[in-house]
């Protein structure tokens, strides 16, 4: 008698298994196939093109009615198996019991629905089967319909792109900082986001869904940050979990998935399992390639032939027409690995290869994925790549035969290859000018051909052309790169941030072709400052790119404790503040209280976990952070001035307080210290500060560019102001000019030396319109800056910074 095989789940894995089985031995089993969906096996992967309308359902059916009939499969579609009774060897469904000799479980996965209020409203759907697709297509039929897709991974983005093609207004909500974070680094994620946005899809990262709103069907999605997106449908594509319920209930060994052996046998020798519902050697798979291997093994096991499933590397691809993303292997970075990164921003190409021991172990390709399978093959074979390392990233075409180095690759470009896209300059125009006009530098080429003179993204290519045309005669002007992560200097990076409208660190790293995927402790703080000062109100500060002092708003000390310096405006304090400082020092046993060189009080040796509580008490007495840690405005020292001093000519204390209150909170390239002295005796030491004011009978002498730290240098006089208002406007405008031109960590005196005092005076003193312009820009940026960081943290911001994650002691000895 024929053995009875019952299969639960008519999905991709079981369909493939049945093919192998019938091919090898058509008569071995009498097969009953249960499927919860009211249809047979189809190519689930291709649901995305069906959703977008690029394919029809009929085109993706893998096994039709004829096939089941020819193979004598007893089809029970639309019938869910609700239980397995392993003792009696039957499965139970609504039509009763079905007996088996061998059972195959291939129930796949269930979409994960995030547990938010409103998740059960009509209009909320997953993206897993044809019914979901049909529901989405129906919703898209309504003119002006809006879709919110929750999840910016492969599945969510395929859904979003497809719904957009159907004419819907689409918003993608993604919990993480960038799209497809499991496959892409932030830079490539940014490229992808930009591409999707150019198709009219709105992308909202770091979006924490709070609730789905609606009365009898979905109307909108509300986020934690207060944003509300109207929606006719909400598609949840946040993840999947193995569908193991009936296996668990029947007492099979189930962990994350159903545990199987290399032979695909579960803890019951008569029950096999394959597909997304299984767990093999701690791994649960979510892509078809390994599932197909499982299908082959299961068929052989059923036929009592030897076979063993071995874990496989997987490669993924985003199937959105016109966008190519490919990733394979292991592309996390770690110490023993090296990366090769290629960024060609103008072409929208990003490639990253991860090497270990001269072997390729991971690859991420964006924009140009043609070599994906070649890389994958190298990876799977574990091929030694040291021979072709230099050209590996250019792909297969550059290998084999004569090897091309990157320089030769440029030299090998055809004469009519376009080098500069902005200005339409081709290779022969550039090489012709170099030879014909005797050009020797990048600037020469820019002046004569315009190549690389606009967005600058082809600079690297032009330099290689100079090098290959001139040979050793080419000596690139030595610009000091910010750090080893880039060849660009501070000024170029700043210029390009503005010119290209770059608004995030990943955007800068991608567009400016950074050589590392995550930067370093030198470039990240600099980029963070440039972005913050260029795009006030738009750029979101990246705390993790700040030095610890600025991250926790206190100065770290040699023993890991912190110091706390509250503001004392212009050096003025009062009994209430002093009492609060004394109380806080007692309460938190703060070991040292010191008067600083900046006319305020430093509380030294505060434990990190005490910081918020210390600040809360200081806040309660009206004190805010003195920013003693900041690349920003520190102190404005003053002397007693006309209020008390017999020589005082103006209210130096009042002006100092006014400047400090106007300018506190602003971030600057390096720290900024100011002082106001009431007369030329200069008791506030204004003539060695970044900006200083000497009050005189006729008004205010404004000084700048002094130094008294590593270097000592007296100030230069900028100009004379008649009124306090004028003095304030000049000082603010000067600071803003410095904020926009200064290199990160460059104090005012160094900046002034570099750009020249004349150019500063031309902007701030001679041209009143420009002075006003810089003043206004400073005022605008202050709208977002004057928030006391201590108060924010007292109210719970960044709480993780101040508390240990866990604590454990020695284990208790067993009695």
């Amino acid at each position: 008698m024929k053995q009875r095989l019952v299969v639960i789940g008519a999905g991709m894995a079981s369909g493939r298994m049945l093919e192998h089985l019938f091919e090898a031995d058509p008569g071995a089993f009498e097969v009953t196939l249960f499927g919860a969906e009211p249809r047979g096996n189809y190519n689930r992967i291709m649901l995305s093109p069906v959703l977008s309308g690029e394919k029809t359902y009929d085109e993706i059916v893998t096994h039709d009615a004829d096939w089941y009939r020819d193979n004598n499969v007893n089809c029970r579609f639309g019938e869910t198996v609700t239980a397995i009774d392993r003792k009696r060897k039957v499965v139970i469904s609504k039509d009763g019991e079905t007996a088996y000799d061998k059972l195959l479980i291939a129930t796949g996965s269930a979409p994960f629905i995030i547990p938010v209020a409103g998740k059960e409203l009509p209009g909320v759907m997953a993206f897993r089967d044809l019914d979901d697709v049909n529901n989405m297509v129906a919703a898209a039929g309504k003119p002006g319909a809006k879709a919110v897709v929750i999840g910016g991974g492969l599945l969510g983005l395929e859904a979003a792109a497809a719904l957009r093609l159907r004419g819907m207004e689409v918003v993608v909500l993604h919990l993480m900082g960038h799209l497809m974070e499991r496959q892409l680094d932030p830079a490539a994620g940014y490229l992808l986001q930009r591409e999707l946005e150019s198709r009219g899809i709105k992308v909202h990262c770091k979006a924490q869904t709070k609730a789905i709103l609606g009365n009898d069907r979905v109307e909108a999605v509300a986020l934690d940050d207060g944003t509300v997106y109207p929606a006719d449908i909400v598609v949840m594509a946040v993840g999947i979990r193995p569908e193991t319920r009936i296996a668990t209930d029947s007492g099979l060994h189930v962990e994350r998935g159903i545990i199987v052996s290399d032979q695909m046998v579960t803890s019951d020798p008569d029950v096999l399992a394959i597909g997304e519902c299984v767990e093999h050697e701690n791994v649960v798979y979510g892509l078809v390639a390994p599932l197909y291997d499982m299908a082959k093994v299961a068929a052989r096991t059923l036929l009592k032939q030897d076979a063993a499933f071995r874990p496989v590397q997987t490669a993924t691809q985003l199937k959105v027409t016109g966008v190519s993303v490919y990733s394979a292997g292991d592309f996390a970075d770690a110490e023993d690995r090296e990366e090769i990164v290629l960024r060609d921003a103008s072409a929208g190409v990003y490639k990253r290869l991860v090497l270990k021991d001269d072997r390729l172990i991971g690859a991420v390709l964006y924009g140009e994925t043609g070599d994906g399978s070649w890389f994958f093959d190298l990876m799977k074979r574990g091929a030694e790549i040291s021979e072709m390392r230099d050209t590996l990233i250019f792909g297969q075409a550059y290998q084999g035969g004569a090897q091309l180095d990157p320089m030769a690759a440029v030299a090998a470009l055809p004469d009519d290859a376009e080098i500069c896209g902005c200005n339409g300059v081709c290779k022969s125009t550039i090489t012709g000018a170099i030879v014909g006009k005797g050009l020797t530098s990048l600037d020469d080429v820019r002046a004569h051909t315009k190549a690389s003179a606009s967005c600058g993204s082809c600079t690297g290519l032009v330099e290689k052309l100079l090098a290959s045309t001139l040979g050793d005669a080419y000596n690139p002007a030595a610009i000091q790169p910010i750090c080893p992560c880039t060849d660009l200097g501070h000024d170029e990076v700043r210029r390009l941030i503005v010119a290209k409208g770059l608004k995030s660190i990943p955007a800068v790293m991608q567009e400016l072709e950074w050589k590392t995927s995550c930067g370093c402790a030198k470039c990240r703080p600099a980029l963070n400052y440039y972005l913050l000062s260029t795009w006030p109100g738009e750029y979101e500060d990246d705390n993790q790119s700040r030095f610890i002092n600025e991250r926790v708003h206190a100065n770290i000390q040699k023993d890991g404790t912190y110091s706390v310096v509250p503001r004392m405006w212009g050096g003025i304090t009062n009994p209430r503040e002093l009492r609060a400082i004394a109380d806080v020092a007692d309460k938190f046993a703060i070991p040292t209280i010191k008067v600083t060189g900046g006319q305020r009080i430093d509380l030294l040796g505060v434990k990190k976990e005490d910081l918020p509580a210390v600040w809360a008490d200081l806040n309660a007495a009206g004190m805010v952070s003195g920013a003693a840690y900041a690349k920003g405005l520190r102190t404005v020292k003053t002397c007693v001035g006309s209020d008390w001093c017999r020589f005082g000519t103006q209210d130096s204390t009042g002006l100092g307080v006014r400047i400090e209150k106007f300018m506190w909170g602003s971030w600057t390239p390096a720290k900024v210290k100011m002082a106001v002295s009431g007369c030329p005796r200069n008791c506030a030491e204004a003539t060695c500060k970044d900006v200083g004011v000497i009050c005189v009978d006729s008004g205010y002498e404004i000084h700048f560019a002094g130094a008294a730290g590593l270097d000592i240098k007296g100030t230069e006089v900028l100009c004379h102001a008649k009124t306090e208002d004028e003095a304030l406007e000049i000082i603010v405008a000067l600071t803003q000019l410095y904020r926009e031109q200064g290199r990160y960590l460059e104090r005012i005196y160094k900046w002034a030396k570099r750009v020249g005092s004349d150019s500063i005076k031309a902007n701030i003193v001679e041209d009143l319109e420009k002075r006003r312009y810089y003043f206004e820009r400073f005022v605008y940026s202050q709208k977002f800056a004057q928030v006391d960081p201590w108060e924010e943290r007292v109210n719970g911001k960044d709480a993780h910074e101040f508390a240990a994650m866990a604590e454990f002691g020695f284990p208790q000895a067993a009695e």
Partner: protein
Amino acid sequence: MSNWIAIGSINDIPRRGARCVKSPIGTIAVFRTAEDEIYAIEDRCPHKGGPLSQGIVHGAQVTCPLHNWVFSLETGEAQGADEGRVRTVALRLDGETILMDADLVMAIAAE
């Protein structure tokens, strides 16, 4: 045999950031990289004891906040010209839960 104890969720640590775990050998710094790898090292710089948990994290490395030595999170070795190493502690991820090899910590404590 390892004794894995749960110390929290990966979501408790910001990307490119760190959190501290107090243990019998002192504070242990637990890092999460931009790519969601997790590492644990002793929170004490071999140079002058700087708290490495407070440094800037880049790739699988951290820069000490006191004098800018750079350490590999994976091996604990100082990078570049600086010489020294910091002890690493094994971690494992179970779903989102981070597990620390407590036996290893105890073994270090017993040294």
